[in-house]
């Protein structure tokens, strides 16, 4: 209401400044958080820190088992979640049409994506660890993370597959291909960039997650050698180091490694997807 007394030109100028400030604040927040973590953390990070075992519950030594745990749970979660998420997306985009069941399935994926991670944590404990008897293990943690990643993979893949022009399919049908041959040979290859983006989004969510796995994966400091061993992914290690006041320096280092890992994966994938897309489009 206050703007009414100002002339339109002056309020335009004021708002331009307000907008620029809001953009700057957003950039500054990122620079401050990321800069602080990297400036404090990077001096701690060296080859020895990355490739050695923690000593005295992480007071000294490195974080090698935690890096392995993180990559391990994320990889297994990806292997489990990708076929389920992509399969669901293919079914909805290519087979189902628009009916009530499709709406229910979409709402289901949304609900699954909205459940707080700590509730997944409890579910993982009650179902995978205790009920199925998988114990505190990489497998239990991966299963929880897979469930959390499915909606992301599903949603991004469905949008991509639906956006493939129908002329692609018609061309394939015209050559006498069956529905599945068309999906497998024509639609999926064209949708790969989007599917990969969805999978990576799901995986970065998984690799960043601590609350969902804290009661499923155990908190072992040793190197997990099989999916039945317990482990301690990086975010959980950071949480324990920080809240139990074990070692501030190692916490900085762990945070820096975690952030770099997530950003590195995101940037590399974006570049790779752009390249593939350009290639497919013949640019």
């Amino acid at each position: 209401m206050g703007f009414r007394v100002l002339s339109p030109r002056i309020s335009q100028k004021i708002m331009n400044i307000v907008f620029i400030i809001s953009g700057l604040i957003t950039i500054l927040i990122l620079v401050f958080v990321l800069g602080y973590i990297l400036i404090k953390g990077l001096p701690v990070v060296n080859l020895d820190f990355i490739f050695s075992n923690p000593i005295d519950s992480g007071r000294e030594g490195g974080i090698f088992p935690m890096i392995v745990s993180s990559l391990f749970v994320t990889l297994i979660a990806g292997i489990i979640a990708t076929p389920l998420g992509v399969g669901a997306a293919v079914y909805l985009a290519e087979y189902a049409g628009e009916n009530w069941l499709v709406k229910v399935i979409r709402f289901g994926a949304e609900t699954l994506a909205s459940i707080p991670s700590i509730v997944f944590g409890l579910f993982g404990l009650a179902f995978f660890v205790v009920f199925l008897g998988l114990g505190w293990s990489i497998l239990s943690g991966s299963l929880v993370l897979a469930i959390m990643a499915i909606p992301t993979i599903f949603q991004v893949s469905e949008v991509t597959i639906s956006s493939i022009p129908s002329s692609f399919r018609e061309g394939s049908f015209g050559l006498g291909a069956t529905k599945w041959q068309t999906v497998y040979r024509v639609v999926l290859p064209a949708a790969i960039p989007g599917i990969v983006t969805g999978v990576i989004l799901g995986m970065t969510r998984a690799i960043s997650e601590a609350a969902a796995v804290m009661f499923a994966v155990g908190a072992a400091l040793s190197l997990p050698l099989s999916i039945f061993d317990p482990g301690r992914p990086l975010p959980l290690h950071l949480y324990i180091l920080a809240t139990e006041g074990i070692s501030l320096d190692n916490a900085y280092g762990t945070a820096a490694v975690l952030v770099i890992l997530v950003l590195f994966v995101t940037i590399i994938t974006n570049l790779a997807v752009d390249r593939y897309q350009n290639k497919i489009m013949g640019r």
Partner: protein
């Protein structure tokens, strides 16, 4: 030929199973949370559990009311800061900024959403809490500290979804407004923003869901004292924090009560999700792949 048809049939059924997998998982999740949580309601009484003020497992008292208030206060306080900032930023990115600035802001927002929540919590613990302690006294562990961290965490959610809904407003609307001699800001204020409002409200609700569900980042800065706060500098405990802190050593009724806490949390999230969906279907909002 016949073999092909059988193959096609099997593949379609297989894909159908992957499609309904999410729904089956939700049922199993609800089943197990209820199975472990309902005994707490039965033994302690649902209303005693929901509205009880005392949480003291050693004395057999399991009231989560202070934590419901804690969760809501932290969330609302963070939205108070996050909504204006993220809406301004979203409008800036969608309507005002030239292309080169947009190209800087887009990856900034994506990176903000990519930083793991534990890292935000850690940052809060080592930077924000000491800062608040020195500036405002007390321990620094407070509702205010948690809501500042949550503000940063929900920022990308609200920015990206409201940006999508601003972009979805047809160009003709803007052109008509410009044609009548309106400035860019008048067009945004009177035309684009109102048209995008349902999507923006959805974005805020989804951000709210994210804030209520956040666990470890909050635990690290909120102080975790079970009490109804009297100022924003008081420590509180949220529903999520209650579960994460005590689950490690809980047994018996205490264990059930923590699952009961999860039921309450789940109900709050479901209410938010239903409201968001109601708005979306009523106003036909398309927010792409948005979720809490």
């Amino acid at each position: 030929m016949d073999k092909n048809r059988i193959n096609e049939f099997l593949i379609e059924k297989g894909l159908f199973i992957t499609a309904i997998f999410s729904i089956m998982v939700i049922f199993v999740i609800i089943l197990f949370i209820l199975m472990e949580g309902l005994p707490a309601f039965e033994e302690y009484g649902f209303f005693n559990f929901l509205f009880g003020l005392a949480w003291s497992p050693n004395h057999g008292e399991y009231g989560v009311f202070a934590m419901i208030i804690g969760s809501l206060c932290v969330t609302l306080l963070s939205l108070l800061m996050a909504v204006p900032l993220s809406l301004l930023c979203a409008i800036f990115m969608a309507e005002v900024a030239p292309n080169n600035i947009r190209k800087i802001l887009k990856p900034v927002v994506e990176t903000l959403s990519g930083i793991p929540s534990v890292v935000y919590g850690f940052f809060g613990l080592i930077v924000l809490v000491p800062f608040l302690r020195e500036s405002f006294g007390g321990t620094g562990f407070s509702m205010f500290a948690a809501s500042l961290i949550l503000t940063v965490m929900v920022l990308p959610t609200i920015i990206s979804i409201s940006q999508d809904s601003l972009r979805a407003v047809p160009h003709e609307y803007r052109e008509a407004s410009f044609g009548l001699g309106a400035t860019n800001w008048q067009t945004i204020k009177n035309i684009v923003f109102p048209a995008a409002l349902p999507g923006i409200v959805t974005a805020i609700i989804l951000g709210m869901g994210r804030a209520i569900g956040e666990t470890l980042a909050v635990i690290m800065v909120v102080g975790n004292v079970v009490q109804i706060p009297s100022s924003i500098f008081d420590p509180v405990r949220t529903l999520t924090a209650n579960i994460a802190i005590e689950m490690g050593y809980a047994t018996g009724l205490h264990y059930n009560a923590l699952f009961g806490t999860a039921i309450v949390l789940f109900l709050i999230i479901m209410i938010l999700l239903l409201v968001a969906n109601y708005i979306r279907y009523k106003y036909k909002v398309d927010i792409g792949g948005g979720y809490l």
